[in-house]
C-alpha cells in the first residue's frame, strides 16, 4: 500500500474540476497511479537548488519571428470548421443550456 499523497476527497474534487466522471474501477486505478507518480515527483523536493536558479519555460528559448501585426486573416473555408461540430443550426454550434440560465 502506497503512502497517499492526496486524499480521496481531494481526488474527487480534481475529477470534478477536470470536467470528468469516473467509474469506480477507473477511480480506484487512477487514484493509485496518481499517488505513485507523486512518489516519483517527491525526488524534486530532495534536489538542492543553487541560489539564483531561474525557472525555464523552455529549455531552448524559442527564436521565432516577432509577433505579426494583429490583423485578422480569413480562413478560406469557415463552413468546414463549423461543420466539424457535433450539432449545428444555421451556421451556429448548438449546446445545451448553461445550468440556471434561462
Amino acid at each position: 500500500m502506497t503512502t497517499k499523497r492526496i486524499s480521496p476527497e481531494l481526488f474527487e474534487k480534481l475529477v470534478s474540476l477536470a470536467a470528468l466522471e469516473l467509474t469506480a474501477e477507473e477511480s480506484d486505478y487512477l487514484f493509485e497511479e496518481i499517488n505513485h507518480q507523486l512518489a516519483s515527483v517527491e525526488a524534486l523536493s530532495q534536489i538542492p537548488l543553487p541560489e539564483g536558479v531561474e525557472p525555464s519555460l523552455h529549455g531552448l528559448e524559442p527564436q521565432g519571428s516577432p509577433a505579426r501585426p494583429d490583423q485578422w486573416q480569413p480562413f478560406p473555408n469557415p463552413e468546414a470548421v463549423i461543420n466539424l461540430a457535433p450539432e449545428t443550426e444555421d451556421g451556429m454550434i448548438v449546446v445545451p443550456d448553461v445550468k440556471g440560465a434561462k
Binding site: A18, L57, L60
Partner: protein
Amino acid sequence: MNLTQLSAFEVAQKVRSGEVKAAEIAEASLAQIKAVDGVSGSPEPGNLSPEEEKKVHAFIQITRDLALAQAEKVDRMVANGEDPGLLAGVPLSVKDIFCVEGTHTTAASKIIANFVPPYTATSVQRLTDAGALVLGKVNLDEFTFGSSNESSAFQPSTNNPWQTEYVPGGSSGGSAASVAAQEVALSLGTDTGGSIRQPAAFCGVVGMKPSYGRVSRLGLIAFASSLDCPGPLSRDVRDAALMLQAMAGHDPKDSTSSILSIGNYVEALEQDVKGLRIGLSPDYEAVYYPDLESGELHTEPIQKEVHDAVLYAAEILAKAGAEIIENVPLPNTRYGIPTYFVISRVEAASNLHRFDGVKYGYRTSENVADLNELYRRSRAEGFGLEPKLRILMGMYVSAAEHASDYYQKALKVRSMIRSDFDQAFDPQGSYRLDALLTPTTATTAFKRKAVYGNSVLMQYSDQMTVASNHAGVPALTLPGGLDENGLPIGIQLIGNDFREELILRIGHAYERLTTDDAWRNVRPQVLQGEVKA
C-alpha cells in the same frame, strides 16, 4: 529489385531519373502493407486470429487514393521535365497526431475518432510538396501518452516487427514499426520525452528529435507544447537527414519555430569524424527510479549489452579519428522523469481542455441536463485512462497551493538540466563537446502487457531520452546491435542547439564503419524469408 527495400534516397534518385515510376513505388508499399500489417487499428476491434497476432498492425488508416494521386503528380512532373522534389516518390507514413486535410486524424483516441481536419500540418505539407507519398496514418499511444503503443484506443495496437510478442515502443510505435517492416521508407513522428527515439531504438531504425523549434508544430495535436518536436524515422541516417532537410525551417504560423537558417544536412554527411569531440557520461549508465513509498531514488545499471554497444560505438569512432572524452558530468539527468511528470502533465491538462464535445469530435449521446454535464459525459466517454490520468496529475501539480513545490520547482530543475548540456557543449569550457554518445534506452524492447498499467515504470523507459527534451537540444538514435534475444539496441547522439548536421554526420560515419558487422544482416521476424538486396 524489391522496391520496398530501397532507402528514401535511392527511391528519390530512381524516380527523379525516370528509372522507376512513383506509382510503382506506391503499389509496392501498398502490397507490403497488405502482406505484413494485418487488420488496421480500430475503436471497435474484433477478435484476433493467431495469424493476426503475428502481424505488425502499424496502420490506423491506409490512404491508398491519396498516395496514388500524389504518385501520379510526381510521375507527371518527371515526364514534363519538372523538378518533382527532394523526396520524389518516397513512401511516407504519418503518426496519426498530425492533421492531414481530408483524412481522419484521431490521436488514437475515441474523443476525436471522427475528426477530419480542414487543413494540413506544415511538416506534412512540406514533405508532400517535396514529392513524398502519404501511404497512411499510423498508430500511437492515445494522444502520444505512453511508451509502448498499448494505450491506443485503436486496437490491435502495433507489434514489434522484430518479434511480434514485444512492443514497438511509443508513442511513435506505428511510425517505427512501419519503417522497420519496410511498409514505408520514412515516417513522421513526434518526440516529447523520447517518443521518436525510444520506439526507433526498440524497432532497430533511425529516429531524430530535432532541436525545439527546428520543425513547425502547426497541425500537430499538442501534448506538451514546450517539449513537442516533430521529427523523422527512417532506416538509415542519410534518409533522416533528407527528411529533415525537406521539413525543417521557420513557419510563420508557429511562433516558436526558429528563424535560424537550416543546415545542409545531407551534404554534411560527406565529412568524416576526425577531430570531433564525443563525450561519454557516467550519468547515462544507470536508471534512477523511485521507491513508491518514500520517493527515494534507487539505482539500477542499464542492460549490459546496451552499455557494451555504446562502448563499441565509441571505440569505432575513436579509430576513425574522433576524440572520446570520458566522465562528462550530467548530474541532473536523473531528475528528468520527475521533472517531466510535472511539466508535461501541466501542459497536457491545459491542452486537453479543448476536447469538450462542443466544437468537434465526440459528443455523448446521453440526454444531459446542462452544458457542464455535456462536458463531463463527453470527456468521460471519449478519453481513455491515460489522458484522464494526465489531466488529473497536471491539475494537481499546477494548483495554486502546490505550484511552488511542484511546477515552479520543476521549471527550475529544467534550468539545471539545461545547464548540464551548456557546460558539456561550451566551446570555452572543460569538455568542448561536439556530441554526447549515450544509450537511447536502458533496455531493449519489453513484452506486451509486461509494463502497461504501471504508469510510473512505463514513464521511466524514457529516462535516457527525456533530458534532451527538457533542454531543447537535438538527439539522434540509430541501431547499435542486437541483444542476446535478437532484439535491437539503440545508441543515441545528443548535440548542441541546432547542430543537427553534426550528430547526423557522426551517425552516418558509424553506419559506414559498421557496414560489415554481422548483426546488420539479421532481419526482423516479419521480413524473414525475404532476401536482403
